[in-house]
């Protein structure tokens, strides 16, 4: 086995290892969260986090270190992140094998769109400088985690759970099926099946990225990915070069094997350093008889120009400005305030929107706890999409749990101690006496009071003699709330036995400062 062959194999090995690491970090993000390496570590490898954290805070906090290491290595090694580490890239490579992606020769009509990723990055930077951080939507690691959380993991648990339950009904398979079921439940699946809203939008978004492989190999990485653009920008003068020897007959096999189509057709000896992701396919493709391709360090590297005209830079900037304007023109609607219940420890709403990269890791770990967090929908602003929002009818915030804060890669949710969390007011409960059973139907219930977790219950009740319509007098336990004790955990709303809407609901406390646009 020669050197270049083994570089490709090494790359594949590392790529698979990182993919397994990302899956592992995803799977261990569950109760009890007792692991050596935090699940947020994987997400912090994103090269975009250091850049945008710096723009946002003008500082370099320790949480950006993993991403920073990638950035520092890039001028030397090029876009190795894209083919050695990025799990989304690995998904795209796997998709290629499934859907018969077109050869480079046939996909070349897309090439004039290479600038798009730079324009994306420029637009995102402009928006970030003007304090609107939307780059998380396009962060490849965030996209990957979103896909795992909302689609792949729920699908996997749904299928395996139902399969094992079906198998367990076959007499001789009952014991092994239940054994596997318990094993899966204890180590992988949530106790309850995970269901998420926004499945449709997130499927279309991440499915679209995978489906684009039908247009060209690594379509996302070539034309769209802002992380790829940043890394490409940094590797213009890459020190690690591909060398093509005299013996090259220009058979062009390397050109057609290149994942990024980064070898110019008119000059096989050069590499487009901005696009090359160091997959080493070229060396492996070079026929054994010639073996003209080698790799080496060069301290006087040649330069590859960015595929970007001044006009396109300007276009990106204008898009950023326009996007900023349009996205800020949402219609604030106070009726939607109740949907804005963020995880305990979250920064103030506007800051939270800036820091959160919509990776949904908090949503993921919440599933093995109270399960209240859901990817948010559009309410009164377009930028709320996929922020974590507590929806108390689908779950509740577990009193003794502060795990969402521990897995947040950008500290949009501050890591707070458990006692601080237990006093954190996420919202406040309100009774709806038109629905609540003791008020509306003159029957005992107070399931909400039963579950209220604060040491002194925020939901209390008084026993009152109530005269029913036909004259009977019944002693009824009527619940009421002591607002100063309520932390808005929502277990009352979740456990309310009514169909549909609950007789009690949690709404976010009003933030007087954020209400400045209203009269009053």
């Amino acid at each position: 086995m020669n050197f270049s062959m083994s570089m490709q194999n090494l790359r594949k090995l590392v790529q698979v290892a990182f993919f397994i690491l990302f899956i592992y970090l995803f799977l261990v993000a569950r109760y009890p969260y007792e692991i050596i390496m935090g699940s947020d570590f994987g997400l912090r490898l994103s090269p975009l986090i250091p850049l945008f954290t710096f723009i946002d805070t003008l500082s370099i906090p320790p949480l950006v270190i993993p991403g920073l290491i990638i950035l520092i290595l890039t001028p030397f090694l090029g876009r190795f992140f894209c083919s050695w580490i990025c799990p989304l890239g690995t998904c795209l490579d796997a998709t290629d094998k499934l859907i018969n992606t077109p050869k480079n020769k046939l996909a070349r009509s897309w090439d004039r769109w290479r600038y798009l990723k730079f324009a994306n990055l420029i637009a995102l930077i402009i928006m970030a400088v003007l304090s609107l951080n939307l780059w998380g939507y396009l962060d490849p690691l965030s996209i990957f985690n979103r896909m795992l959380t909302v689609i792949l993991y729920p699908l996997a648990t749904l299928f395996s759970e139902n399969l094992l339950i079906a198998l367990s009904s076959i007499s001789f398979l009952e014991t092994p099926a239940y054994y596997l079921y318990d094993l899966f439940k204890d180590n992988m699946m949530p106790e309850g099946q995970a269901y998420y809203q926004q499945v449709l939008l997130i499927s279309v978004f991440s499915g679209g990225i995978l489906a684009a492989e039908k247009l060209s190999r690594r379509f996302w990485c070539r034309y769209v990915c802002p992380a790829g653009a940043l890394l490409g920008f940094l590797s213009q003068f890459r020190f690690y070069e591909r060398l093509v020897g005299e013996e090259c007959p220009a058979c062009n096999l390397c050109i057609s094997e290149c994942k990024m189509d980064a070898i110019p057709q008119d000059d096989v000896s050069r590499t487009n350093k901005v696009e090359c992701i160091e997959c080493f396919n070229c060396g492996a493709a070079c026929p054994p008889k010639t073996k003209a391709i080698t790799y080496r360090w060069s301290w006087k590297p040649y330069h590859t120009e960015l595929d970007l005209s001044r006009r396109q830079v300007l276009g990106g900037m204008l898009t950023g400005l326009g996007g900023l304007g349009l996205l800020s023109l949402g219609l604030p609607n106070r009726n939607h305030a109740r949907h804005l219940i963020r995880p305990p420890g979250s920064l103030a709403e506007s800051e939270f929107e800036d820091k959160c990269i919509r990776c949904l890791e908090c949503v993921r770990i919440c599933e093995s706890n109270g399960g209240c967090l859901q990817p948010d929908a559009f309410h009164s602003s377009l930028t709320q999409l996929w922020l974590p929002a507590a929806q108390m009818r689908t779950g509740y915030c577990e009193y003794n749990c502060n795990l969402c804060a521990e897995v947040c890669p950008t500290d949009a949710i501050k890591p707070i101690a458990l006692d601080e969390k237990q006093a954190w007011v996420m919202g406040t409960a309100y009774f709806r006496e038109d629905l609540c059973i003791p008020f509306a139907r003159d029957e005992d219930c107070i399931v909400c009071e039963e579950h209220c977790p604060t040491p002194e219950k925020a939901i209390k009740f008084e026993t009152k003699d109530v005269e029913l319509p036909h004259g009977e007098v019944r002693a009824l336990k009527l619940p009421y709330l002591e607002p100063e004790l309520c932390i808005g955990c929502g277990i009352c709303e979740f456990k309310c036995p009514l169909d549909g809407e609950a007789g009690i609901f949690v709404t976010k406390p009003a933030d007087p400062q954020e209400d400045a646009t209203y009269y009053g």
Partner: protein, 299 residues
């Protein structure tokens, strides 16, 4: 089915025919044994052994080869000190007794109110009972069976299959305060094997409880009152609400155990509707107004 027949015929059941000679002597003694026992001033382990000894030994309830199910209260994500869940040492001690009596399996389960894995773990029961040799299992949503009740307000309700299929069931509640039901004892603890939307049982609670529990009475009820939760129940959360009572009540009759348990709280039977209705509807095996109680003080 075995269990229910056993209870109905109290001591001299048809089963006795198939038992070894030593058992005959035991059954002959049963009528002289107390109907319920209350032990005070002990530690979890000594309370259990004293209570079991007074009732004629665990062998009276658990025979060689039995599959036993223990139903402690581990519904809440709280540590043992908060007295929201059954004391783990009590569950472990009963597990050991059952295994020593020759039980082939001791299963422990509860349908929890908080996230199940958190409750199992933080109640301390998962570790303690597993170490004692029990099989602590999670409740699975597909393992409920609609039980025909023909009750006064309910026709049927889903009940956990493992509970129905166990040869012997030992109900191990903790004595605690409950906002809606006033107290939570043996009867209330059986809600942990009920499926469906349990919140709805709260509407017409006493009648629904009687409808269901009359069909699922356990072999034995052991009320853990080592710690008692006196307020903010059933979930608790404030150590000031916990009273060190260091007591235990046990009886083959759940209703009798509950009636006796009210002594600890100072409630009258007529105050606690679900127990009152159970007595009135004849769910007790004994005359609860005139219980033969053995009182033991270990202190």
């Amino acid at each position: 089915m075995k269990r229910r027949e056993f209870l109905k015929t109290s001591a001299i059941g048809t089963m006795a025919m198939s038992l070894p000679l030593s058992r005959w002597q035991l059954f002959a003694q049963v009528n002289e044994l107390p109907q319920a026992v209350i032990v005070r001033n002990g530690e979890p382990e000594s309370l259990v052994s004293a209570a079991m000894k007074a009732l004629g030994g665990i062998e009276r309830f658990v025979q060689r080869g039995d599959k036993v199910l223990l139903k402690p209260n581990m519904a809440w994500d709280r540590g043992p000190a908060y007295a929201a869940n059954t004391n783990p040492e009590v569950v472990a001690a009963i597990t050991r007794l059952c295994l020593n009596a020759g039980a082939t399996e001791v299963k422990v389960l509860d349908r929890t109110c908080n996230e199940p894995r958190r409750c199992y773990r933080n109640s301390g029961i998962n570790d303690a009972a597993t170490a004692a040799g029990a099989n602590v299992v999670q409740v699975r949503s597909n393992r409920y069976e609609d039980l025909e009740l023909k009750g006064e307000v309910l026709d049927s309700w889903p009940i956990y299959k493992d509970y129905l299929e166990a040869d012997k069931v030992i109900n191990i509640p903790i004595a605690k305060h409950h906002g809606m039901a006033k107290v939570s004892l043996g009867l209330k603890n059986l809600m942990g094997v009920m499926g469906g939307r349990r919140g709805l049982i709260h509407v017409k609670f006493a009648d629904k409880m009687a409808d269901i529990t009359q069909h699922i009475m356990p072999t034995l009820t052991v009320i853990d009152a080592y710690r008692m939760l006196m307020d903010n129940g059933p979930s608790g959360g404030d150590l000031d609400d916990v009273r060190m009572e260091r007591a235990m009540i046990a009886s083959p009759c759940t209703v009798s155990a509950d009636v006796l348990g009210l002594e600890l709280f100072g409630h009258a039977v007529s105050d606690i509707k679900q127990i009152d209705v159970a007595v009135k509807r004849g769910l007790a095996l004994y005359d609860t107004t005139n219980l033969n109680v053995e009182r033991i003080d270990l202190g």
